[in-house]
Each structure stands twice: as structure tokens, then as C-alpha cells.
């Protein structure tokens, strides 16, 4: 297994939104999907995961509905609301801008300045 990385502050929300945007999921499913996409390199603290999830739902970006899980148990499935998909788009743009800028700075060499 590759070395695990710690989650940067404030990125959990956008990851949850992204995970849900790929299709409605229950809480555990979201967690698994993020870990799976990251190739199990991202360690998400389980306690703060639900806090973030609830905060997003509270803001109205996700909508939770009760349904049946794959092994026939009652589970809460989340899907993206229109406000949520707008938010995902905005945050994704912001993130790429940010990473672009940070990359630029970090890749700077004395010659370039």
C-alpha cells in the first residue's frame, strides 16, 4: 500500500460533493468511494466525515433520502441538489486555480524570477 496522505483542511466538503455527483450514495458508500478513487491513499477521520456531511446537508447542497441498501438494510442515500452541483462547480474551479497558483510558486526556480 502506498503511503497515506492527510486530508488538507477544507477539502473534505468538495470531495464529498464530487463523490455524490457520480451517483447517489449512502454515507459509508461516500467514504468508501473517496478512499477507492484516491487509491486508498487518503485517510479520512470517520468522526469528522459525518460532521462535514451533515453540514453540507444543512446548507442544502445534498439531500438525504431513506432507501434500501445493497444488503437490504435501511440506509440514508444522498444525492446532489442543483445548489450542490453549482457549488461543486464553483469549488472545483477555485481548487484548480489554487493548485495552479501554488504549483507555479512551488515550481519556481531562481532562473525564472
Amino acid at each position: 500500500m502506498d503511503k497515506q496522505v492527510e486530508l488538507l483542511q477544507g477539502t473534505l466538503e468538495i470531495l464529498i460533493l464530487k463523490a455524490v455527483s457520480l451517483g447517489p450514495l449512502h454515507g459509508y458508500g461516500i467514504l468508501l468511494r473517496i478512499q477507492q478513487i484516491s487509491g486508498d491513499r487518503l485517510q479520512i477521520p470517520q468522526g469528522s466525515f459525518y460532521i462535514a456531511l451533515y453540514r453540507i446537508e444543512h446548507k442544502g447542497w445534498l439531500k438525504g433520502e431513506w432507501g434500501e441498501s445493497e444488503n437490504n438494510r435501511r440506509a440514508k442515500f444522498y444525492r446532489l441538489t442543483p445548489a450542490g452541483s453549482r457549488q461543486l462547480k464553483a469549488q472545483t474551479e477555485k481548487w484548480s486555480q489554487m493548485t495552479g497558483v501554488v504549483d507555479g510558486i512551488l515550481s519556481a526556480t531562481p532562473e525564472k524570477i
Partner: protein, 892 residues
Amino acid sequence: MIFFANLVSWWNALVHRTRVDNDIETELQFHIDAHTQRLIDLGVPPREAKRRSKIEFGRVDVQKEKYRSAIGLGPLHEIGGDVRYGLRSLYRNKAVSLVAVLSLALGIGATTAMFSLIYATLLHPFPYADADRIVNPAVIDEKHPQVPTWFALTPRQFESFRHARSIDTILGFNLAGLEATGSDLPENVSAAYVTSNASSFFGIPAMLGRGIQASDVPARSNPLNIVVLGYDFWKRKYPDDKSILGKTLQLNHEDYTIVGVMPQRFTFTQTVGGADVYIPWTPARFTHLFPWIKLKPGVSVTTADAEFQSYLVQFKKETPKHFPDSFHVNVQPILQPYVHNIGRTLTLLFASVVLLLIIGCANCSVLLLARGESRHHELAIRSAIGASRFRIVRQLLVESMALALSGACIGVIISYWLANLPLKLLPNDFPHEAVISINLPVLCFSVGLALLTGLLFGLAPALRLSRPDVSRFMQSGARSAGVNSSKGALNTLVAGQIALTLILLCTAGAAIAGFIKITRLQLGYDPHNVMAVGIPLKRDTKKNHPERAAYINQLRESVAAIPNVLDVAVALNSIPPNHPFSSTQVPFDVFGSQPEQEQQAGIFLVSPEYFATLKIPLLNGRLWDQTENQRGDFVAVINQTLAQRYWPKGDAVGHQLRATSLKDDGSPLAAASPQSGEWRQIIGVVADSRNDGLDHAPEPAIFVPYTTFMWDEIHLLIRTTSSPLASFHAVRVALQSVNPDQRAFNHADDLEETLQYQPLWSQQRLFSILFAFFACLALALSLVGLSSTVVFAVSRRMSELGIRMALGAQRWNIVWLVMRTTSITVLSGIAVGLLLNLALQRLLRHWTPASIQTPLILAGITLLLIASAVVACLPPLKRAANVDPAQTLRSG
């Protein structure tokens, strides 16, 4: 959008609390189970998988807390917990909570009552639309600047005045006494003739039917004979008859159709004399009008004064008789006379209830501090397991808020009863339209007050108790023999309570002493079993002077023939202790003297029986006889004050005086006696009697035969053998036997009762009753505070007292030990109270001039306070004296 989503999730979290809790639990349990399954799939043994997934996730309860703080409801949830915990702990200490709530209820109740009284009588007394812009158009006669008078306008003047720039709308009215005919006894009905814009001017819809409207006075045809009834008149004459509309009321033998009944709160024109019925005004019905003005928004009283002055100067040229010789306009908001009369009373009462409230708050602080001592242990544990100081303060404040709000609930109920008390005690000083009700502003006030008091009495104990010394309290357990940190604060609070109570007691004592003095006032006349009956005379009843004089005498004699009646006198303008229709003094001259200053005296038009009826003794000379009375001879009887001022040697009889206002004005009803020169012969001197209200010494008075002028209204003063009002019906029958149409006013005044409506009398009675009431409450509250500190001190020192006992201390040693601090507290409270009282003396003397404070009263009150303090401390002291050393030492 986000805001809306927030609201929905808050709403769910608050209202569907259990469901949300269950949902979270199910979801999290699902998570744990799914994770366990995954671990098992990865090859972990089931038991270990379960354990690991639980450890990784943490407790589900904690997650719920986190959920609430995630959606921003954490503090609310915690406060909810504080409230529940607070209520439980208040319920656990029932006695303490009950005393605290009652203390606050009394304080908040009394303060709310005074606020709702002020709100109802001084802030929003009138039901009229834009009542704050309605003004009395008073003018000030430069000669008699104390008494503002009104002015009448002719219809043409009224029409031009309407266009003044300051005026928004203007109502014209006039009052007249009419006769309701068609029933057994002719009844007097006071009618207000109002211009047809009355309904829109007042903005008050009729209770039944309609008000007066413009179509009632058609421009070209005759006005309709319609009438709108006042509520009281309707109640009296047609008790609750809702089918009254369309029926006929006969007034002065003319039929009027009833079209409406006004609601109870509409009592126009109570400020100038109430009206029973309202009739549309027309120039044919009344030749002139009095204006009531609604100013335009934003127009100040001074602007209006200046503008009206020029109008009125012009009007005076047209109708000089309607205006004083020299005058200036002084319009005043309709509330102003009441503010002048009762503003001070209400301020004083409000100040006293605030004192009461402070005492109540101090009581709560004392109780919370005393109880807090026993809670140190609990708070120490809370603080040891991680409660922040903020949370402890918040929890304690929530408890005191709960106390304060429960106090406010009871207080509002008390206040409703209490606020109506002054209205009952001072019926004439408040606007009649004022209605006390528990309305939104009053509720807001009391809730605000409760929060403020909760903060006031809760903050100090909360701050003090929120810093427990954990190690000490955890070690020594519940009972500590160490020093008590709250003792100083407790004693200060109790001393403060005692000081404030003493001030209230002194004020109450002074008010009562003043009231007793008023009731024992030398009146100079005997009001017992005397009543005054007002009798309107028709202008055309008897045309010339002798016939009218004879008619009045006939009325008098017919009443005198009633079996119970002892004496009957005619008085035109004097119902002691006032002379209501000419309250000002008029100038007069004494023959042969030319004083530098104008001399003034009150002139009283009476019959010679006046003095016997009121038992005013004749000191010198004689009274005029019946013949002189009938002729209206130019004689005069003066009172002792006048006699002594001008003839100190006692030789007044035989001198002459004259007054311009008594001059024959040539009207057919003025006296034209053969010897009617201008000068009047003084024929007698009578003893002084109060004639200028209770608060003033008797004015110089000149009594002359009532036949000098016979107005349209006379009074009969009737002395009977027993309660005079019982004979009122007989009097009306006797009057009718002289003339079937002769009516009396519907109400007779018992002179003894009239005294109670004198402003001085009723105000001082109000002060006495309310101050005594507040002072008693304050005393009760302070004693509760005092005795609870002693109870607390004794129970805290039980083991110490036991040790002392065991070492050989006598009972009185023990009692003294406990008493010492308490006595110092009480005595210093009294000392501070007496000093403050001394400082407040001047202010109080200014505000309640009739109150009397003597050293004797002060001494009595101080003794009373000390005695009741001793009584309040006896039970806990007894407990201290009976300490069983074996018992206390063992339990220690």
C-alpha cells in the same frame, strides 16, 4: 436558498427531535455495521471486526452532539439542557424557589401595574384617532392667568377658522341640558351638539348603528331629528336593549330618532362635562360653537398659538363678549391637564414600586447566594469534569431567568388588579377614557423587566459561585467549617433592603399622618347629612324678576315641606368646600377707602338659610330676611377673614362695599331694588368656612342674596335627618309638584362624599393606601431576606456552635454570637435608611405637600422595624440555642 435550507433543517432538528435523533442513530449504526462487514470480508475475525469498527468510529452519542453543532444548534441544545436542569433544581428546593418567585412577583407585579397605569392614563388614554394632535383651544385671560378659558365662535367665524394653516380638522360643539319628557319624572339629559364631521374627527365607529354623518344636515332642507346615545346613558335608560335603533327619544317635547349608540370608551366631552346624547349641530339649534382642534402633523403648539392669536383678535372685534379684554392663545394637548394633575403622583408611585422591586431582587440574590453555598459541591464537580466558567454562569443565569419569568407571570396577574386600584381611588383625576388592559406594550415591559431583574439578581451570585475552589470543596465535602465567602455580600444586601424598607415605611407613615390631618380638618361648616341638588331653570319659565324669585322660593319651600328635610337653602355658585362656577376672586371696593392694591374676594349668591343649613355661625350683626331676599336688596354678609382684614377692630357691620361684577347689568332678571345704589350695606359677619378647596385657607367671602342674579341653574342645599341621598327621589317629586316640567339633575351630591373627591383628600388617600401597601410588602420581603440569612448562618455554623457548646458556652453566648452580625446589619441598614430619608425629605415635601413627617413618627417606625426584625429572627435563633452538641459533632 441556503437560508431556507437552513431553516428546514433547524426546524426538523428542533421540532422532530426524536425522529432526527433516531435517524442519526440508524445511519451511524448502518455505517458501523457496513464497516464491520467490510473488515470481515477482508478476513478479520467477526468479533475483532466489530471491536475495531466501533473504536474507529467512536460513540454514537458523541456524534449526535457533533451533528447539532454542525448545523449550528449546539448552544440552543445546551441551553435547553440548562433550562431542564434549572427547573429540576428549582423544583427540588421548593420553599426557596417559592419565596424567590413570590418576592419577584410582588416587585414585578407592582412595577408592571404602575407602568400599565402610566401607559393607560398618560401615554394612551384617549381612544380618538390621532389623539396626540387634538388640542383644547384655551385662551388665557391676562387678568386671571391661572385659569384657561374656552372661547365660542359664530358659525361664520368657525367657517373661516377652519381654514387656518395649522388646523387639520376642527370639530365644533356646544352643550345643553335638555329634558327627557314622556316618562314619570322629567329627567335631565345633557346633550352635545356636534358638527356633522364628528365621526371622522373622532375616528371611533359606533357600537350600535352609526355615528353622526354629513347627510344628517342636508344643505337645503331641514336637519333630521336624529340622536346618537352615549354608552352610559344607553345602559341607564335602556339597559342592554340592542333593538333600540329606530326608536324615538323625546327631548324637550320633540321627537328624535335613535340611530346609534357609541362604545363605552367614547365619553366625549368628559373633559368639559359629560354628554348623554349627541345631536347634529345646526345654526338653528345653537347660535355658536366651541372648537376642538386637530392640528396638522408636525405643527407645534407655539406655531398654532401664534397663528390663532391673529384669528382670535379679529374675531374679538366681531364678538367682543366671547373673549376676555386682553388675552393670549394657549392651546394645550388634551392630555396636558391630566399630566399636570397626576404626573407627579404617578412618578412618585413608580419610584416607590421600583424600590419594592429592588428589595424583591435583593431578596432573590440573598436566597440564591445562601442556596449557592450549599451548591458549591455540585458546582465544583461540574467544574472538575470540564464545565467552563461560562457554562456555569450560563446555567446559574438560566435558573435565575426561570425564577424571574415565573415571577413575571404571577406579577402580570397581580398587576391587573393593582393597576385598577388608583383609578378607583382617584376617579376624577384620570382621563375617563383610560382603560387599564394587559396589552402588548405592558407584557413586553414586564417580560423585559423580568429579564433585567433576572440578570440583576442572578449575575452577582452566578459570578461568585462560578469560581469554585475545586480542591477545597472536593476535600472537605459538603460541610465546610471555613470562612464563608458570600457573607459580606449577603449582609450588604440585607442592610440595603432594610434601608429601602425604612424609607418606604417613613413615606407611608408621613402620608397616613397627613391624611389623618386632612380628615380632621376644621371645615367651618357641617357637611353631615347635607346634599346638593342641581336644578336647571328654563329661561322662559318666569319672565320678570319678582316672579322668578318667587318661583325659586316656591321650589325651596316645596322641598322644605318634605318630612325628613330639616333645612333647605338656595345657592347659585357655592357647594362647599368649593365654589365651582366662579373659582376666581373678583375685585371689590370698600366705601371710603382707597387701597393701593386691588382687593379681591369670592362672591357667593345664596339664600339666608344657607348659614343655618351648613351650620355656619353668625358672629356679628344679622342675616338678611325673606323680604330683603325676595327684593334682592343691596345687602351683604361677609366672612371673618374679610372682616378681620379690613376692620380688625370688629366694626365691619354698617360699612359699605361694592363689586363691579354685582352691578345691575340691565338684564330683566337682575335685581332692581329701590335702594340699589352701587354700594352694599354690610349687615353681618359669619364665621369662616372652607370655600377654596381643602388645601387652602378660607378666602375672603361676600355673601349676597341669590336674587341679585338668577342664572339658569340653581342648587338646593338640603339638610336631612338621615342619609340625604335617600330623600333625593322625594325632592324630585316635590319639584315636580310645583311645575310638572321642573326637573333636577340626575345626580345629587352628598357633601360628606364630595369631600372625598377633593383632589387633596383623594390624592392623600391614594398615597396613604398605596404607600402603606408597598411599605408592608417591602417589610415582609426584607424580613424574609433577613431571616433567611440568619437561617443560613445558623445552619452553616451548626458544628461550630456544637463545639462551642461542648466547650461550655452558655445559650445566651450562642445566641449573641449569631445575633451579633445580624444586629450590626440591621442597625446599619436603619442608620443608612434614616440618613437617606433625611436627604429625601425636601424632595418628598415638595411632591407630597400634605404629608407630615415628625420625629415621633420616625421613632415609631424605627421601633416597628426593629421589633419585626427580632420576631423574624426568633425561629432560627431558637434553633441555634437548642443545638445539641453531641448530635452536631457526630454528624460532623
